[in-house]
């Protein structure tokens, strides 16, 4: 244990890792603070760069950039009422109301402080949850993996903030995309339409870049430019945060826990964590009437929640290769690339690398405090950059980055195609996160499914025979039937349903 810890320290105390982490932190802070550029997009655009780094440095950049971007989305949310990332959308109104009351420092300080605390709570959950789960997961057979993957996919559809039917459809589209190529049980070209480029299948990373970056540039083409940030002088940013921590320690803990749980659930990420925690904070608050008028309580809870979900999203990713959120989906791609294939054995064979990941998360969250304060002070200058200069550079990075992944132009075509697909899906209420999950998990789901079918010789019974498999199966089927039950229930009680939706 101690030896692995020392090994882990040795792994991360190289110049490459330190510089990569610092650069990625600054990059994450800048991208996160620009409205319309999300944390997922920041991470996706980082992947081509990680190609050329050592495994630990590559993961360091992802850890640092994603943690920072989630916090830094709070900055334009508080100052402009435009959330920099979707994860800050839940409480942007509240933070802006505080700014109007002259409490911008308190709102932003709470953003930094409780983000860092939440992030560290998330890492602790990763450290505590992952090893025992890995122990259990070692005895999993393909049946358990199949149900687990199905459960993961169903979770993503359950928590989507849109029609569950559309979410399931999105998931199927993602799975269908993963069918392309010759990497299937028979090794035959499937859905390749005679194109050699499609033989290798659709790489998840260009697809993600397209869905999250190109689609965003497409949306920018049709939406008006956000107003520039008024310049202002800030007082002490951390003043009063300790008092808030003591006053709202229960809210903070609850935010952390909710964030961790939502992070672990596949497909549900920081934005969902923030929405749920903010709503929860309002529901259980002693002074709910103050919410919306510039009250810091909800900020504390939601800020603690969204950053906690970032680290805990890595739990299912590292253990099963099932991404906890879209950022973890990208991280899984990088893990595979770097020879750290997700799975329970990662925790026994590559224990020092796992400890290195924990340490990097902790360091990133500590670094967030000074860097975040600096970022708040210079945010006014960064937000001066008009969209018409940022978006072209994003486009350029998409083109070059997707080319760099396989050194062929087909990557660029993939990015363009998925930009269109992502844009159309989003515009019509199909959650793209569900599709992304489908693409990332497709190969694994199919492998587990077909192997199980071969083992069981076409019979369905073995899918339920093992105890863990039976439990997972019950949960997955329950998740599948849940929207149907809600739908039926609503049909039976129309008056209440109407009241519930108008609330």
């Amino acid at each position: 244990m101690l030896k692995t810890l020392i090994d882990a320290f040795a792994l991360i105390s190289t110049w490459e890792v330190i510089i990569a982490m610092f650069a990625a932190s600054v990059y994450g802070l800048v991208i996160g603070s620009l409205p319309g550029l999300s944390a997922t997009m920041a991470t996706a655009l980082l992947v081509p760069v990680t190609f050329y780094l050592s495994p630990i440095a590559a993961i360091a950049t992802i850890v640092a950039a994603s943690s920072m971007a989630i916090f830094s989305g709070d900055i334009p949310g508080a100052l402009l009422r435009i959330p920099g990332t979707p994860a800050s959308a839940a409480y942007a109104d509240e933070a802006y109301a505080m700014t109007r009351k002259g409490q911008a420092e308190l709102a932003l300080g709470a953003g930094v402080w409780f983000s860092a605390v939440g992030g560290i709570a998330g890492v602790l959950s990763l450290m505590i949850l992952a090893p025992p789960l890995a122990e259990i997961a070692l005895s999993f057979s393909t049946f358990e993996y199949f149900w687990l993957a199905l459960l993961g996919l169903m979770c993503a559809t359950l928590v989507a903030r849109s029609s569950p039917v559309k979410a399931i459809a999105g998931m199927f589209i993602g799975l269908l995309v993963s069918c392309i190529g010759i990497e299937n049980p028979g090794g035959v070209p499937r859905f390749t339409f005679g194109l050699t480029d499609l033989f290798g299948g659709i790489e998840p990373i260009p697809a993600l870049v397209g869905v999250f970056a190109v689609a965003q540039v497409m949306r920018a083409m049709l939406t008006p430019e956000p107003p520039p940030l008024p310049r202002r002088k800030f007082g002490s940013i951390m003043a009063g945060q300790w008092k808030l921590t003591k006053k709202y320690h229960w809210q903070m803990t609850r935010g952390n826990i909710v964030g961790i749980i939502i992070g672990v659930l596949p497909g549900a990420g920081a934005d969902m964590a923030a929405w749920v925690s903010y709503a929860m904070s309002k529901r259980f608050s002693k002074e709910p009437e103050k919410f919306g008028t510039g009250h810091v309580e909800g900020l504390v809870e939601a800020g603690a929640s969204n950053n906690a979900s970032i680290a805990s999203g890595w739990v299912p990713s590292l253990l099963f290769g099932i991404p906890g959120d879209t950022i973890a989906a990208i991280a899984i791609g990088v893990l595979y690339m770097k020879g750290l294939n997700p799975g329970p054995t990662l925790f026994t064979e590559k224990a020092s690398s796992m400890y290195a990941i924990y340490l990097m998360f902790i360091i990133a969250n500590i670094m967030m405090i000074p860097l975040g304060i600096a970022m708040i002070r210079v945010a006014a200058y960064i937000l001066l950059a008009p969209r018409s200069t940022v978006m072209p550079i994003i486009m350029l990075c998409c083109a070059v980055g997707s080319f760099a992944i396989g050194n062929n132009m087909f990557g660029v075509v993939t990015v363009a195609a998925f930009g269109v697909i992502g844009y159309i899906m989003e515009a019509n209420g199909y959650p793209v996160a569900a599709m992304v999950l489908g693409i990332v998990m497709g190969t694994m789901v199919e492998q587990a499914f077909v192997t199980s079918l071969i083992k069981s010789d076409g019979s369905i019974l073995p899918f339920f025979e093992r105890p863990v498999a039976a439990i997972l199966a019950a949960m997955a089927i329950g998740a599948l039937l849940w929207p149907v039950m809600v739908w039926v229930w609503r049909k039976m009680k129309p008056p209440q349903a109407a009241a519930a939706t108008s609330r």
């Binding site: 540039v217 083409m221 008009p386 070059v400 760099a404 269109v420 079918l453």
Partner: protein, 163 residues
């Protein structure tokens, strides 16, 4: 690009059916009951069923809470000019990427990238005074990072970089 649910749903039915059929005609693995054909069959069927449900509006009631971040109320956001062709502007970024695919080898990275940056920037409302220097400088910066530091083989084309 908001299409009616019946349109997207029908499209999904067609896509699902095509996928299921495509899976069906795949050659099986000799001597084994299941092969590459099973998964697309299941997925395609599921997708088609979802498409049907969407056409009939099942699950639509869940969409009410879908709400986008409200714009600033104080400043009346100028309504975007609505023409018939205005919506097509959204297709510009993917079109430019495809342009890059075809042009990069012939024109070289620097020129193709400069054109892409200039067009995107202008389309987002930048004046030429901003767009031109941006288009002139940013390809070099990106080339420095990706081409020089990360050794991505970017095509040189007509205008090779000085390094």
């Amino acid at each position: 690009m908001r299409l009616p649910d019946s349109v997207t749903g029908s499209f999904l039915v067609a896509l699902g059916a095509a996928a299921a059929y495509g899976g069906w005609i795949l050659p099986p693995v000799p001597g084994q009951p299941v092969g590459p054909n099973v998964f697309p069959l299941v997925i395609g069927t599921g997708l088609a069923l979802c498409g049907l449900a969407i056409v009939f509006g099942i699950g639509h009631s869940f969409e009410e809470e879908e709400e986008l971040v409200p714009l600033e109320n104080g400043q009346a956001a100028s309504p975007p000019p609505q023409g018939k062709l205005y919506g097509l502007r959204a297709l510009l970024p993917p079109a430019l990427l495809l342009f890059y695919v075809f042009a990069a080898d012939r024109l070289g990275f620097i020129l193709a990238a400069a054109i892409m940056v200039y067009v995107t920037s202008t389309a987002l409302g930048a004046k030429w005074k901003l767009a031109l220097p941006l288009a002139a400088l940013s390809p070099f910066a990106i080339h420095l990072i990706f081409g020089k530091l990360l050794r991505v083989p970017l095509p040189a084309g007509l205008l090779p970089t000085p390094w």
